[in-house]
């Protein structure tokens, strides 16, 4: 039974990686792959169903929204925004959160007290509300989204890395390094950081999935990039309105979003399993 479990885990990892790779390629080659211009409205062809339903236009494979825009093309171009947010926001949150956690966990003392208090305060905010608040204040745009994600989710890294740094800091190899003459900062960078890296990578993968979701939620509440640029969240928001008349506007971006978030998550889990025996 353990064997089947391992085979399953391997399959999960590869499927997730495959989907994400597909997504990356789609984003890069979007102009080539998309059959139509995602912004082009054609009011005569509004609310056309996907190609296998009666009354469809084969030019619009997955149908159109109320303004006659091609759903498939918008999904393809939407991947660009989703992935850029995932990468940039994910990486930024990672760097800031992990750094704070590392410093707090290793140096302890005042730094730790301040960072821990900050984390407590942050955890008392409902995350979605906080991000909506920030966007409303800063205004829409890619930078705002990234900033919002960093601001609300840095605690995810900080908490875990802090705990890890504390645990590692108590171990013998650190003491030996200090005795050998390494300064505190040097010890932190050269001894602790490499051992904490696997966890950081796992969290980063998870964070990218979270970034995609946060962006989708913000688009859903109409606070994301702009109303014209195709985002999966924006399409879902529109689809929710016309759910009874044009279900495809909601279903297809939802499926894409679902698979993407699932893939990031499973990739993270898979990496965690790979690293685990090495970590402990």
């Amino acid at each position: 039974m353990a064997d089947a479990g391992q085979k399953r885990a391997g399959l999960r990892l590869w499927l997730s990686a495959l989907w994400l790779l597909l997504l990356v390629l789609t984003a890069i080659f979007a102009p080539v792959l998309a059959p139509k211009n995602p912004l082009e409205q054609d009011l005569m062809s509004g609310r056309l169903p996907p190609f296998w339903v009666a009354g469809a236009d084969p030019g619009f494979l997955l149908g159109t929204d109320s303004l006659g825009r091609d759903v498939l093309s918008r999904i393809i171009f939407g991947s660009r925004i989703a992935l850029s947010v995932a990468l940039i926001a994910g990486a930024s949150t990672c760097v800031i959160g992990a750094s704070l956690g590392l410093v707090a966990g290793f140096y302890r003392g005042w730094v730790d007290i301040i960072v821990s208090r900050l984390i407590d305060i942050w955890m008392a905010f409902p995350p979605v509300l906080f991000s909506i608040l920030l966007i409303a204040v800063i205004g829409p745009g890619l930078v705002s989204i990234i900033l919002a994600i960093v601001v609300i989710d840095w605690t995810r890294f900080a908490r875990v890395i802090r705990a890890e740094a504390m645990a590692q800091g108590a171990m013998d190899y650190v003491a030996s390094a200090r005795v050998a003459g390494r300064g505190r900062f040097g010890t932190m960078l050269r001894e602790i950081l490499p051992n904490v890296l696997p966890i950081i990578v796992v969290l980063l993968t998870l964070e990218m999935g979270i970034a995609v979701i946060v962006e989708a939620i913000l688009s859903f509440v109409n606070l994301s990039i702009s109303t014209d640029d195709p985002t999966w969240g924006g399409m879902i928001s529109e689809g929710r309105q016309s759910i009874h008349q044009a279900w495809w506007v909601l279903v297809f971006p939802l499926i894409t979003l679902f698979l993407t978030v699932l893939s990031f998550s499973q990739l993270g889990e898979g990496l965690k399993d790979r690293f685990d025996p090495v970590l402990r």
Partner: protein, 347 residues
């Protein structure tokens, strides 16, 4: 030490911990208040101007701005607001023209009912998954449960909400996907705890209507939490099942199911408790978007509108209330843990 009974010492320790927790909670709440207060005032644009019809004179704007105290400096505004809060006055909502405290407490029951219902579903579903997985260790059923758990965990409540809307709102329209209750119904309630009251008043027709509106949003919130509970409890049970007292119970004639329920479960629950508490606060945070998705008239939905409309006093009130709820839940979890752990109880 002469004269210090064990009970007396325990009370001293308890009181000391309690006091410490109160102080840290106060600091946290203060921090939240400061952050939200200053963040929303950084906004460009005057919320008053946004509200008034075009054609309002500069004097109108100025008068209303003064009325809401927005003409003072930010630290001054904070002090005035803080003074009011201590007396129970959270200001007046700019968009809804009513006292913030009343508005916020008015919507709170709806969100509380939804959150608690979700928690119930999550605990029952997660618990059932963990117990079944343990009873059927090594079978394909356990494998299936693990896969389902993994998927449920990986996908956030927002997406589950959308999936549920599509499945049970459109495909098989069994449940409602909008609102808290059918609008045409006459509601004889005294409080806003509709669900609770409907049961207490034996108006089960209303209970059914309310539940048909609440099931899908509650499920959306519950699914990730149920998966976490399922995984954690199953892991905890797995470790507990290896212990000697469990084996001993088997020799006494108890069946496998009895052994899991009587011996393993009470000991496996404790470690799961604290994490579930934290996750419950995340669930409550999730009500913001889920309520929006299902047009459910709760706190979260009102919060989004408040932000979009720059209703500063209302935003502050809601954020503080959420923070109070979160810290409250954490406190309850810690107290419950201390109460249930026999080791802590008797020192």
């Amino acid at each position: 030490m002469k004269g210090e009974t064990p009970l007396g010492m325990w009370w001293m320790a308890f009181f000391r911990t309690f006091l410490l927790r109160m102080i840290t909670t106060a600091i946290t709440l203060f921090g939240v208040a400061v952050i939200v207060f200053f963040v929303i005032r950084v906004v460009p644009g005057n919320p008053i101007a946004m509200m008034l019809p075009p054609g309002a004179t500069a004097e109108d704007i100025a008068r209303l701005t003064a009325l809401y105290g927005l003409d003072k400096t930010i630290p001054q505004q904070f002090l005035i607001w803080g003074a009011g809060v201590v007396q129970g006055d959270f200001g007046t909502s700019i968009t809804l023209r009513q006292p913030v405290l009343a508005l916020v407490l008015g919507r709170l029951p709806a969100t509380l009912e939804l959150s608690v219902l979700s928690l119930l579903i999550a605990v029952l579903a997660g618990g059932a998954a963990a117990l079944t997985g343990t009873r059927l260790r090594g079978t394909r059923v356990e494998g299936g449960i693990d896969i389902a758990n993994g998927m449920a965990l990986s996908v956030p409540d927002f997406l589950w909400g959308l999936v549920l809307i599509l499945t049970f709102g459109v495909l098989l329209p069994v449940f409602q996907i909008s609102g808290r209750v059918t609008p045409s119904l006459q509601l004889p309630f005294a409080t806003n705890f509709y669900l609770v009251e409907s049961v207490l008043r034996l108006r089960f027709d209303l209970t059914v209507d309310l539940l048909s509106h609440m099931v899908l949003p509650a499920l959306a919130l519950a699914i990730p939490l149920a998966a976490i509970i399922g995984q954690l409890l199953k892991q905890s049970l797995k470790e507990t099942m290896h212990l000697d007292y469990v084996t001993l119970a088997r020799t006494r004639g108890y069946s496998e199911a009895q052994v899991i329920w009587r011996e393993a479960l009470p000991n496996a629950i404790l470690p799961t408790l604290t994490l579930v508490g934290v996750q419950f606060t995340f669930l409550i945070g999730g009500t913001v978007i889920i309520e929006r998705l299902f047009s459910y008239e709760g706190l979260g939905n009102m919060a989004i509108d408040a932000v979009i409309n720059r209703d500063l006093p209302l935003i502050q009130g809601i954020v503080i209330l959420f923070a109070v709820i979160f810290t409250g839940v954490n406190l309850v979890v810690d107290l419950t843990y201390a109460a249930l752990n026999p080791r802590l109880r008797h020192g």
